[in-house]
């Protein structure tokens, strides 16, 4: 992208970067508000994990629900948050009313079984789940059950957004380090 593009906001990649930067910084800010300085390695690890999730979720929310991969990412994050919420609450109160598992007296881990919007249907086509395409399907979120043609579409969009994300993050880190 050349910086000399005058209406730079018309460039779709530029738009994506803008929005992603906006949301990502906001998410980082939220993180920082909550936890100040990590003390030990465990906290550092958890924090980095959260930052990573923030990055992916920010990117997926920029794209919205137009793409299968963004939907899958958002679904995973949402599910994870719900599960974690249940985990926390169950540890405190041992309440399992929200979970759909019936005999969950211990309530140690109450996993909410929600309907996966992209269920893996392995019985459809075994060829799909072998070889290189399988690797690609594992890499691109939410691409496990689509046909090859749509898989290519999703991969292209995913690569585009991922590259934009990496660029923004790179710039952020550089900004923090050099200035």
């Amino acid at each position: 992208m050349s910086p000399s593009q005058q209406p730079s906001s018309h460039n779709p990649t530029c738009l994506i970067k803008n929005r992603f930067a906006h949301r990502f910084v906001r998410a980082l800010n939220n993180l920082n508000i909550k936890n100040r300085s990590p003390h030990d390695e465990n906290q550092i690890y958890r924090r980095s994990h959260r930052v990573k999730i923030a990055a992916y979720a920010a990117m997926a929310s920029v794209v919205g629900s137009k793409r299968a991969w963004s939907r899958a990412v958002l679904w995973k994050v949402r599910n994870r948050s719900r599960n974690q919420g249940l985990l926390v609450s169950s540890r405190r109160k041992r309440v399992d009313c929200k979970s759909k598992t019936s005999n969950d007296h211990h309530a140690k881990v109450s996993v909410v079984r929600r309907r996966n919007p992209n269920p893996k249907r392995e019985d459809l086509d075994p060829f799909r789940y072998s070889g290189q395409e399988l690797k690609l399907r594992k890499l691109v979120p939410g691409a496990a059950t689509m046909d090859s043609c749509c898989l290519m579409d999703e991969t292209a969009d995913y690569i585009k957004c991922l590259a934009a994300q990496v660029e923004v993050m790179k710039t952020l880190v550089d900004f923090y380090t050099t200035t």
């Binding site: 906001r26 939220n30 710039t171």
Partner: protein, 352 residues
């Protein structure tokens, strides 16, 4: 030209022409068809990119194979329903073919209406002039092959408007064709016209088209041809991008963690600029202020050793993050959080 093909015997009673050598008559018929199509092309000015394909779709043996008797009753069923205009051809193949033929035929309106009425009335073919009969046959042949090709390609989900190759696309009256979700494919010369192989070919072409697009996206893939190599490259690229994300995440954790108030102010400034409704990039480009002073603990981080300082800056992004410190508006109305972290178990509010 001798006259009707053997299949036409059902529909045009009384038209017993001595269609002797099947191949010869078919070939002649195809020639006549080509001429007819050329006429049509002249009529409709070649907007249809399909037409060259049509012209080249002459393969005697291939086309013969599709001339089963089966579609003819379908045609007969189809003809009488000709007057409707708004039925989506979702149901039977015949309906679809009918509609398809409708679209096809109305695009070549003048000679075909006559044929249609003639067929409907089931009059003897003796009333058909040779030219009309030829045109009718040719049209039917086209219908047959097309119907066969189309029937098997009910790709409802994946079809796009641009993949329909009907000539009626640009005709505003023929909106039925646009509503179609079938892929219309014509067999090309020298290629098998089996419906399965046609569908396969469509699918392969789609995939190769996307591969080309991916080749542009993934850097350094110009020399690689072939799906397998490309897939490998794509996989490597995606993996490397994800690894880079992880790397930067750990960098940011150290960076941002050590100066949370800096992050706050940065965020506020960024937020204020973006929420003022101005074009963010241009705005920030002009607001290059003194760089924010960052505690030294920033720089000391093991991760940063990995990150090369010689990065290629995008000027717009670079300036995006240099914000004026004086530009401090503390009371910024925070809009509804589009993304609240799920880190403490709160619900995510996503903007969809």
């Amino acid at each position: 030209m001798n006259g009707a093909s053997p299949e036409c015997h059902n529909n045009i009673p009384g038209n017993t022409t001595g269609g002797g050598g099947g191949e010869v008559s078919v070939f002649e018929r195809q020639q006549a068809r080509m001429k007819w199509q050329q006429q049509q092309q002249m009529l409709f000015n070649g907007n249809d990119h399909q037409v060259p394909n049509m012209l080249s779709a002459m393969q005697p043996s291939g086309l013969i194979g599709n001339f089963a008797i089966k579609p003819d009753p379908g045609i007969e069923n189809g003809w009488p329903d000709f007057s409707y205009g708004d039925q989506l051809g979702y149901g039977s193949g015949f309906d679809h073919m009918n509609q398809n033929t409708h679209s096809r035929m109305t695009s070549f309106r003048p000679p075909l209406m006559a044929d249609q009425t003639i067929l409907q009335k089931n009059s003897s073919s003796a009333s058909l002039s040779p030219k009309k009969r030829k045109a009718h046959e040719n049209q039917k042949l086209k219908v047959v092959s097309e119907e066969n090709g189309v029937k098997e390609k009910e790709l409802k989900g994946c079809s796009d408007g641009d993949s329909t190759e009907t000539s009626s696309k640009e005709k505003p009256k023929l909106t039925e064709a646009k509503k179609q979700e079938y892929i219309h494919v014509r067999a090309r010369r020298g290629q098998a016209t089996d419906s399965h192989s046609l569908a396969e070919r469509v699918r392969r072409e789609k995939i190769s088209e996307r591969m080309k697009y991916l080749q542009d996206l993934v850097p350094g893939c110009n020399k690689i041809t072939g799906k397998a190599g490309m897939l490998d490259e794509i996989i490597n690229y995606v993996q490397s991008l994800q690894r880079q994300v992880e790397m930067f995440v750990s960098g940011e954790v150290s960076a941002v963690g050590y100066s949370s108030e800096m992050a706050n102010s940065t965020y506020l400034q960024l937020n204020s600029l973006l929420e003022m409704g101005t074009n963010p990039i241009d705005m920030v480009l002009r607001s290059i202020g003194s760089p924010v002073s960052i505690p030294e603990t920033f720089v000391v981080s093991s991760c940063f050793n990995q990150i090369q300082p010689t990065v290629t800056w995008d000027a717009d992004l670079q300036n995006l993050y240099r914000m004026e410190l004086q530009h401090d508006t503390s009371t910024i109305p925070f809009q509804t959080q589009k993304f609240t972290g799920s880190y403490e178990g709160s619900n995510l509010k996503m903007e969809m």
